[in-house]
Symmetry: C2
């Protein structure tokens, strides 16, 4: 299958690359690496993403190439790190029906195989790991730019090699990327070590107000708190991981008040505890240890019903690992 | 030199292993790995450390072997991850004069070469990386226990592969350790993801009260705050790294009130800014990006003079990397 993907790319002249909605380090890093590779092969390409690239990834070389271009005149579409057509975004989900060859490169277990050719490897910790192999097949030598883009995908999808998904292969590939000149400092300084003062101040309030009930720890990120702290929108991700590090807890939930009647929940759990049923119950989704959903209602309405469901799920689950 | 170290170990029957004072994951992990190896070779050994092993490392197999044993009857002393004789601790710093062969295994650039034989490799990210090579020389096969001990040293000394010291080799060795059965989850869940509720509550207060002055962000961990939060002693390490992630700052300082007239300062800076002169000025030490010192006086006395010195050092330093 991989050879078929390489052949598909080799014969194309003008590729259309699509990253997924709500883009992360892997979809952006992988897409950029592929774009650098295609250009070094003398091919044209356009880079599409329905949503804006987060500021934490704006250091990546070529990030300014992303936009919302038209598809016409391209002879190959490549979806990068996109598990299903919905994740292409409203502007691009019709591309699967255009009759243009579509290469689907992804590592998610939930990938629906929507491509003409599907290069899906669920053993890879990140799509960047698959692109690393693909570039070898294409005889594209790694340079510093390419290597930094690919390292970004692996580092961000494994939360700096700390998730249980981290494999020996991911470490080996990362070692090769460092040898090729990838800058681990650049990735870390920009992606992880670049929080605003307001964000950390907000985290302070959230930690000060967190609650432990049974094996569940939770806190709130309200509109009022964000305003008090001059903090931007959606600072939930890092803080929920920090809450989940509480020794006494098996799971953590952050309630993010997006608007007055919309609350996002971000959920984490320890290895051994599958918390995803909580998100699924409320119309969301995710992985066993990291899930989320968007609920209608205000904080007073949403919090008690989510906590009730979460406690029920925790009661039906075994002990977290390591058992405490 | 390495072969000499291996020969020294091969001919010994009863070794005395010493970890450094105020022990961390590398000194404990490396010492335990060596102990497991020596026992698998049919040799006796004792494990010494002047200070208690932190609770975050109590999961390591064999950690109960540590104590403050007598040196008599041992035919080889091995100092593990100990940069100078002072770091052996008051109970053991005399061992360098006992006439017993002393093998000094370390990776610190400041190692004084106090051993009969010095296996010092400053290219290694952790002493665990040196032990990994030594075990190969000794033909000791890696098993799961050994591999987890060594992985702990590398993961903790590189803060989960995020420090600028992280090398391709460190990633390669870690990949080998995972293949040998080392549990990355076990290391992370115990070492990083095991904070008490009180600790995180304290962090909340510290973040809420942090100050940004110029390019310096700082906060206080006072006796009163710890009492309010039911938090234990010395929770400074993680929080100073978090403070140092503030985008607007080039350096971070945490003031930890140890007793009413003793304040510890913990300092971090971004790559490109050498903040260690601040610690050195107040009688402490450390690395360019991570340093510390212990000062006499109360918080009101200590804070202004440290801030003044830190601002002066920052003024004389260039821009942090990446420039902001």
């Amino acid at each position: 299958m991989k050879t078929e993907a390489a052949r598909m790319i080799s014969t194309a002249n003008n590729a259309f690359l699509i990253a997924h909605v709500d883009p992360d380090g892997d979809t952006i890093g992988s897409t950029l690496a592929l774009a650098h590779a295609l250009r070094s092969m003398g091919k044209d390409c356009s880079l599409a993403c329905s949503d804006r690239v987060p500021a934490t990834l704006s250091f990546l070389p070529g990030v300014e190439w992303f936009g919302t271009p038209q598809i016409a005149d391209h002879d190959l579409i490549i979806a990068v790190d996109v598990s299903d057509r919905g994740r292409l975004g409203p502007a691009y989900d019709h591309v699967v029906e255009m009759g243009i060859p579509l290469l689907n490169i992804d590592h998610h277990v939930t990938n629906t195989g929507f491509g003409t050719v599907n290069l899906v490897n669920t053993d890879a910790v990140a799509t960047s790991e698959i692109i690393f192999d693909l570039l070898r097949d294409l005889d594209v030598p790694l340079d510093q730019l390419l290597a930094t883009c690919l390292l970004t995908g692996i580092v961000t999808d494994t939360r700096s090699f700390s998730t249980s998904s981290t494999t020996p292969r991911a470490l080996e590939v990362s070692s090769e990327l460092l040898k090729a000149g990838a800058s681990l400092i650049e990735v870390n300084e920009n992606y992880y070590k670049s929080k605003s003062l307001g964000t950390l101040r907000l985290w302070g309030k959230m930690l000060d107000q967190m609650q432990l009930e049974g094996r569940l720890v939770w806190s709130v990120d309200s509109l009022e708190m964000r305003e008090q702290c001059h903090a931007g929108f959606s600072n939930g991700d890092g803080i929920v991981n920090l809450l989940a590090s509480v020794r006494e807890a098996s799971a953590a939930i952050v309630f993010i008040e997006k608007e007055s009647q919309r609350v996002e929940i971000s959920i984490r759990s320890r290895p051994g505890v599958d918390i995803s049923p909580v998100a699924v119950y409320f119309g969301g989704g995710g992985h066993p240890q990291a899930a989320g959903a968007m609920l209608e209602g205000n904080l007073e309405q949403v919090i008690p019903k989510v906590l009730r469901k979460a406690q029920a799920v925790l009661d039906s689950e075994g002990q977290a690992w390591p058992s405490r």
